[in-house]
């Protein structure tokens, strides 16, 4: 079995390096095929491991080699595949495989086809390190690795220039890439501090040893570690207030958005909380905070999705919102529920994004939904796929989202945190509304795209086939809930609903489905017949403007952080470094020179002036010596 661990881990690396060999060459179709095959190999190895662990119930661990040894710190490249890891690996490689195959279609006419695949596979490799490592520093390698790959891929079309838009100060792929990287780094500092705390208190960073000795730590220390690690999670999973990068990350190619910014990387934070469940279950107050923040992000992000016109940004906000759901579940201690939603979400959200990719291709990269409409006719399959994904996202029976989201709501109800339950419940309605607003605006109503002069076309058959696994999973994954629970609760704590909740389940389900359906129906009446814009409303309405401008947060960040930092930097350089520090040094040098120049005048060759100096010197010496005598 150990070999499968290595295959699953290193096949993506081989894939990335292979593609990198041709990075500067024009498109080679073989690169796309070979990388896709290697990722599928990794998928098969992951599935084999999943089945193996299912059979034996035991984790597979391997240690590759030493990494950092200094003082008492001893860190190895160690990997362990347990139930949680196996699920993560399978989800990651499955979505990656689909996206790799799909990218052959999506990127077919891109100048840097080969380079794209190199980055994409490198991302998969980093993600595998992240989920497979058996220690916190190994996780951190993957953590930073996915960050860099995300930077490379958001900025993939690096040669586009900065464009000023009304919503964002100035944005381009390279700008968005830097924003994402730097914002993640802020969070990574928190994570690093958490790692330091663990090391100095427990002397190790290995999960198994750390979690076995948590009881030796004071409660305050546990809280500190829990908060520090969660700050790290907030960056990767784009939780408020570090959320702005995710929407801007949509500047990257759409397959990237599907893989990195929907299905896998952004769920790393949730994975971290699930992984550290022995820690978080001992500090319920931090858990509660996580749940509240998650709930807030769920409704906060959903509200922005309600009005956005940008096809990809709507999905990005919806991702943000769903991450909030996952954190709500994890924070409340329902770890397997969070993991279940993570997996289900990965499938249907990736499907939704890839579908959006088809639409973008058909529309020649136009993203404004106000300029689409009626695409159902030309793009039957894409419509079907996106419909399935939206139904799953809205939580309609029998789609995957129904099972996973309902369980989160049940858990919130079960914990008697009715506030959280209510907000999440309401957000379910918003989710259904904006999802179907999108579906109706893109695929139904009047064909507004004629003005652009584009002739929409369906994606190539193999691209559509590549999407099929995700569609199937979005459809049937929910029915595996029982198996899933049985499998992962061998590792994660079981979360049982109380009897009271069991009684209420039917009512809860009906209530939740009702609000979801309401959302869909409202969207149907408002958008399926065609777009009726109310320009007066768009201009004047305060709430609408608040939402379309993302609560003015990007502008606020620009004004309170980016700009002052830049100005302060200028001051530090020009005013302080040059005018004070350096001028001080030169001042000392000049003072010495002036003193020399001045004292040189004494030596003017005039005997009488020499005598005057002598007398002056004599007087000074006498006075000084007299004074010292008197003082003594």
């Amino acid at each position: 079995m150990e070999n499968y661990v290595y295959i699953a881990l290193f096949a993506p690396l081989v894939s990335s390096l292979f593609a990198a060999l041709f990075a500067q060459k024009p498109k080679i179709q073989l690169v796309g095929i070979v990388t896709s095959v290697l990722i599928i190999v990794s998928l098969l190895a992951s599935l084999t491991l999943l089945l193996h662990i299912e059979e034996t119930g035991k984790a597979v661990s391997v240690t590759l080699m030493d990494w950092i040894q200094a003082g008492d710190m001893d860190i190895k490249f160690g990997f362990t595949v347990d139930q949680v890891t196996a699920v993560m690996m399978s989800v990651v490689t499955l979505v990656s495989s689909v996206v790799h195959v799909y990218s052959n279609y999506y990127m077919e006419s891109d100048r840097s086809f080969n380079r794209f695949f190199s980055y994409l596979s490198a991302f998969v490799f980093s993600m595998m390190i992240l989920v497979m490592s058996d220690n916190f520093l190994g996780l951190f390698i993957g953590w930073e690795g996915v960050g860099v790959c995300s930077w490379l891929l958001i900025g993939f079309w690096y040669d586009k220039k900065d464009v000023t838009r009304d919503i964002n100060p100035s944005i381009s792929p390279s700008w968005a890439a830097n924003e994402a990287f730097i914002m993640n780094r802020i969070a990574d500092l928190g994570m690093l501090v958490g790692i330091f705390m663990i090391y100095w208190n427990l002397g190790t960073l290995k999960y198994s040893e750390v979690f076995a000795h948590l009881d030796t730590l004071s409660h305050g220390m546990l809280v500190g570690i829990g908060i520090a690690l969660f700050i790290g999670a907030m960056g990767k999973s784009a939780q408020f207030p570090l959320h702005t990068w995710l929407a801007d990350a949509m500047e990257g190619p759409t397959p990237v958005s599907a893989l990195i910014h929907a299905a896998t990387m952004v769920t790393a934070g949730v994975y971290l909380v699930i992984r550290a469940n022995p820690l978080y279950s001992q500090i319920p107050e931090v858990g509660y905070f996580i749940a509240v923040l998650g709930t807030f992000v769920a409704i906060f992000a959903a509200s922005m999705a309600l009005v956005n016109r940008d096809l990809k940004r709507v999905i990005a906000y919806s991702t943000l919102s769903q991450l909030g759901y996952m954190f709500a579940a994890a924070g409340l201690g329902a770890y397997w529920v969070a993991l279940f939603h993570l997996a289900a979400h990965a499938f249907f959200k990736a499907l939704l994004f890839v579908g959006a990719g088809n639409v973008m291709h058909a529309m020649h990269d136009e993203l404004d939904m106000f300029k689409m409409g009626g695409l159902k006719k030309q793009m039957k399959w894409t419509f079907l796929y996106m419909g399935v994904a939206s139904l799953a996202l809205s939580g309609i029976y029998p789609f995957a989202g129904f099972f996973s989201k309902d369980t989160i709501l049940e858990a919130a109800f079960n914990e008697h945190t009715y506030g959280i339950w209510f907000v999440l419940w309401f957000t379910a309605g918003l989710t259904a509304f904006y999802s179907f607003r999108q579906v109706f605006m893109v695929f139904f109503g009047d064909e507004r795209y004629h003005e652009l002069g584009v002739h929409p076309h369906e994606a190539k058959p193999y691209a559509l086939w590549a999407m099929a696994p995700l569609a199937v999973l979005a459809l049937i994954f929910g029915f595996f809930k029982e198996d899933f629970v049985e499998f992962v609760t061998k590792f994660l704590p079981a979360y049982e609903m109380s009897e009271h909740t069991e009684h209420m389940v039917w009512i809860l389900t009906i209530v939740t489905t009702a609000i979801a359906l309401t959302g869909i129906i409202i969207a149907y009446f408002k958008y399926s017949k065609g777009l009726k814009r109310n320009l007066e409303f768009e201009k004047k309405n305060k709430v609408y403007n608040l939402l379309i401008n993302q609560y003015y947060i990007p502008i606020l960040y620009e004004k309170t952080f980016s700009k002052p930092y830049k100005e302060l930097s200028e001051i530090a350089w020009k005013e302080i470094d040059m005018e004070i520090v350096d001028a001080g040094v030169d001042g000392i040098a000049k003072a010495v020179k002036v003193m020399g120049d001045e004292s040189r005048k004494m030596q003017n060759g005039n005997l009488s002036s020499y005598l005057k100096w002598m007398v002056a010197g004599f007087i000074i010496v006498t006075v000084v010596s007299l004074l010292t005598v008197v003082i003594k």
């Binding site: 030493d66 990494w67 040894q69 003082g71 586009k160 390279s174 780094r185 990574d188 930097s569 520090v581």
Partner: protein
Amino acid sequence: MSNILTLLIFFPLIAAIFGFFVNKNSIRVYGIAVSAAEFLLSLWLWKSYDSAQAGFQFVEKMPLIPDFGISYYLGVDGISLFIVIMATLMTMIGIIALSVKDGLKNLIITLLFLEVAMVGVFVSLDVILFYVFWEFSLVPMLYIIGAWGGSKRVYAAIKFFIYTFAGSLVMLVGILYLAYLYYTTTGVWSFSLTDWYALLLPMTVQKYLFWAFFLGFAIKVPMFPFHTWLPYAHGQAPTVGSVILAAVLLKMGSYGFVRFSLPLFPDASVAYITPVAVIAIIMIIYTAMVAYAQKDMKQVIAYSSISHMGVIIIGTFAMNAEGISGSIFQMLSHGIVSGALFMLVGVIYDRRHTKLMSEFGGLAKVMPTYATIFVIMTMASVGLPLTIGFIGEYLSLAGFFKVSPLMTVIAGTSIIVGAVYMLSLVKKSFFGPVTNPENEKLKDLDSKELWALIPLVAIVVWLGIYPKPVLGPINNSTKALVQLMHNKAQTPEAKKIILVSKKAKEAK
């Protein structure tokens, strides 16, 4: 071979003198051959070095002025070994990448003299010998900046010389006073560092001496507010000068802290952790901001050097093996990475004769290989795991966390502010459309430049993934150093803060 250290010092010296008689046309080959031989010699040193031993090896001792206890005393341990190798490596690579046409012969000879001084500083165990090499290193650098530099080269060269020289003089006073103390305590004169290590100094004396040495080292590092000579020196120096200045000469200061300040004045070092750390934090954040404000590519790298040196200082004053090993590793990592970055800036300067970022934009499209290597070095510079830059930064911060969590968090912003100025540099120069028509036809890296840069890329990745061959010996010697400091410590505070590794304790 027992005289390998002598050979390492004198081979470039003799080769430099011999170089005067070499024909102008073959001087490049000669320079590469000599520096390559010297580099191989240093690799041989590494091969013969016994990693399991923590103490000084290849020790040579020969009295020079016996009446004053001055001797020709050499030796290396894990702390100095790799800095020596880095010095020979960067000299070789600097010579390979030379694009200077005028006075090439003199430049190469000067570089070989500089190599003598650099190797000498790091292998000297006699303090007078150390001081001689320390000061001698200024002379070739003065020439390199003053003769081959930019338009304000004379100002920059003199500023560099006088500033660092002034600091060293204060250190010299400290050295002489310490020797006198040794004489009054033991009755014999000695300038051997290992003899001095045995000296137990009263706290009041330690405090004065600490600051005397501090001034010498701090100007060299350079630490805030003594850093302003550096941007001028880098701004005016030719590429090879900047490479060696950043890679090796700055390390003399940080090496001095590890070799002298910590073991000689352990109590004072512990007592002054806070002021030193505050200066280091100012270096990290303030110079990172100054770097962000720069318009000139080379100045960004120059100021980033100061910021990274701040992390090294933080690690040194962690007073535990984690932090000190990390700081020494970070010295190597910074040497390789900033050396490579300066070389990369030199590449574009050779083509465009400007270093202003506003002149560029979209270079990634025109020079893809160049951009790739630049991005790899950028990632190493911002401390990405699995590159060389991560390990030192991580260990330095981790080590200091034990001393002060709060200050570590503030110093840790290094990973954020470092990303800000480096990524903004990359964006301004490499991304976006090609706006300046002069950039449209730029040549990508040629074979000479690739020969210089690819080995550095290889080292960045290799030591990022498998640092053990280097970190192991460093760690061994560091543990012994910490043990020595702990044994010598007199104040209860120092006993508590100087943290001996558990593994070192168990081994006893």
